[in-house]
Amino acid sequence: MQILDFERPIFELEQKIEELIDLSQKGDVDFSEEIKKLQKKVKKVRRDTFSNLSGWQKTQLARHPDRPYTLDYIRFMMSDFIELHGDRGFADGNSIVGGLAKLEGEHVVVIGHQKGRDIKEKVFRNFGMSNPEGYRKALRLMKLADKFGKPIITLLDTPGAYPGIGAEERGQAEAIARNLREMHMLSVPVIVVIIGEGGSGGALALGIGNRVLMLENAVYSVISPEGCAAILWGDGKNVEDAARALRLTSNDLLRLKVIDEIIKEPLCGAHRDSKRMASILRRVLRRNLRELKLLSPDELIRHRYEKFRMIGEFMD
């Protein structure tokens, strides 16, 4: 298990408590006072740490290897999942997964970026960085949903679209651009959830929805803090400054009216309790689906259009 620097004090306290409990059970010495004190302390440290995370800390959490990924959410909060593969042109596009599933008894099409957990799967998923085929497969599934009147749920979690030779040859830009346009034509409810890393155009290519929801510790940005620091500061050392300047946290994005809702994570982050996180998300999705089902197909298209039409700050 990977422990981030700012998580360390919490883990150390938790470990100490466990040791004391262990000792109490084995021996005659009563540590209950001590344990109580430490439990109080760890509670406070948890709250203090997690109520005040910086953009860079949240970026690290969003990328945490134990954080639930798309297939985890599908497993924990949906049933009868049938994965559908391929862009019907070139490849499966396995940095993105999608298929048919049931959420609380209702049929939906679910699509999301997929990262890998061990080295083998990481490579297989190309670290969640999709080639054009992933975006084309996603659009194919969305059109399937549109045709048969099923709501669409997309889960965003990618460092970005893959910058490779093949990706360029096969039209990475075209694939993303097409999704951005076509998602505006879907006549079914579309709910977008940023579950981890919302990396630029590669994330946005699944990101046009009637609702854009974001997990508390997820991030969403036009460029990674590392990329931004390298370009604007001239080196990679200023990642913290860059993360702050980019305003990529859920609180920032809610205030900027780019997202509709922040989804609370279990204390200490989704990676500490994936099942609980999934059950929170399931409830939020159910509520949003219920609200969107009141809109007609035309209203859904107009609603989505107007939502994105409004974003931007300028003076005339």
Partner: protein, 289 residues
């Protein structure tokens, strides 16, 4: 996404130094082929080297001058400015970068939008200005394009966008990313209204601009040898740790791989667009406005 000051071939400093070396100012040395060329000939050839065909970058206003009928251009939203919504500051304040670019270009942001005619066909047009922060797309560029498209829908006239951009504008963070969504949304409406959209790609067209408006044309035309990509060559080289082959991500490469309709020399661009407008039956659009 790609930096707005994307490094391209033909470093400007070099051009200037070599120009000074050549006497009397009537001649210049082409940065690409190193040949001495006659300045007037170069200017008359739409700033394309007569020897090697290298298409030098031109300003938005020069582009409009080349494409539109003389005196027909009417600019819109000229005074729209960024409000620096993130109060962004890196080694320099975004506000100061805007001021600097504004002074250099005499524009308020990285795009010029308006209406005009091309061989008497009425059109709406948006042209990116690369000298303004690398033609990067922030809220102003996104809004001006969207309004241009909305005018095209309202007036029922074809839409032209000439791209020349390093991509999204980092200093506007998520707002710049969302301009991809916004402009593509209005292109969905344009398409539904069956109004033609001609996308013209010039050197360079990269990053978020390629991954939105640039690649969504009914017709996509590129100038010769323009860099057109999603990820820039340097980013790819860093990722794959390999040198890229010559001509990778250039117009001819995209033509070969099926992502542009045609590659057209700058001096033939106006007549080509004019033929397309003929085909689309511009008169029908005119009647309804």
């Amino acid at each position: 996404m790609v930096a707005w000051f994307h490094r391209v071939k033909a470093p400007l400093a070099k051009i200037k130094r070599d120009r000074v070396k050549v006497p009397n100012g009537m001649w210049m040395r082409c940065d690409r082929c190193r040949e001495i060329i006659y300045k007037t000939e170069f200017e008359n050839n739409a700033r394309v080297c007569p020897k090697c065909n290298y298409h030098y970058r031109i300003s938005a206003m020069e582009r409009i001058g080349l494409l539109l009928d003389e005196g027909s251009f009417q600019e819109f939203d000229r005074d729209m400015v960024s409000t620096d919504p993130l109060k962004f500051r890196d080694t320099m304040k975004y506000k100061d970068r805007l001021k600097k670019s504004s002074k250099k270009t005499n524009l308020k942001d990285a795009i010029v939008c308006g209406a005009g005619t091309i061989n008497r066909h009425r059109i709406q047009i948006c042209v990116f200005e690369f000298k303004f922060m690398g033609g990067s797309m922030g809220s102003v560029v996104g809004e001006k394009i969207t309004r241009g498209i909305e005018r095209a829908i309202h007036k029922r006239v074809p839409m032209l966008i000439v791209s020349c951009s390093g991509g999204a504008r980092m200093q506007e963070g998520i707002f710049s990313l969302m301009q991809l969504a916004k402009t593509s949304a209005s292109l969905a409406r344009l398409s539904a209204a069956k109004i033609p959209f001609i996308s013209i790609l010039t050197d360079p067209t990269t990053g978020g601009v390629t991954a939105s408006v640039a690649m969504l044309g009914d017709i996509i035309i590129a100038e010769p040898e323009a860099l057109i990509c999603f990820a820039g060559p340097r980013v790819i080289e860093q990722t794959i740790k390999q040198r890229l082959p010559d001509g990778f991500q250039r117009s001819e490469f995209l033509l070969e791989h099926g992502f542009v309709d045609t590659v057209v020399h700058r001096k033939d661009m106006k007549s080509t667009i004019s033929k397309l407008l003929d085909f689309f039956g511009n008169t029908i659009f005119e009647k309804e406005s």
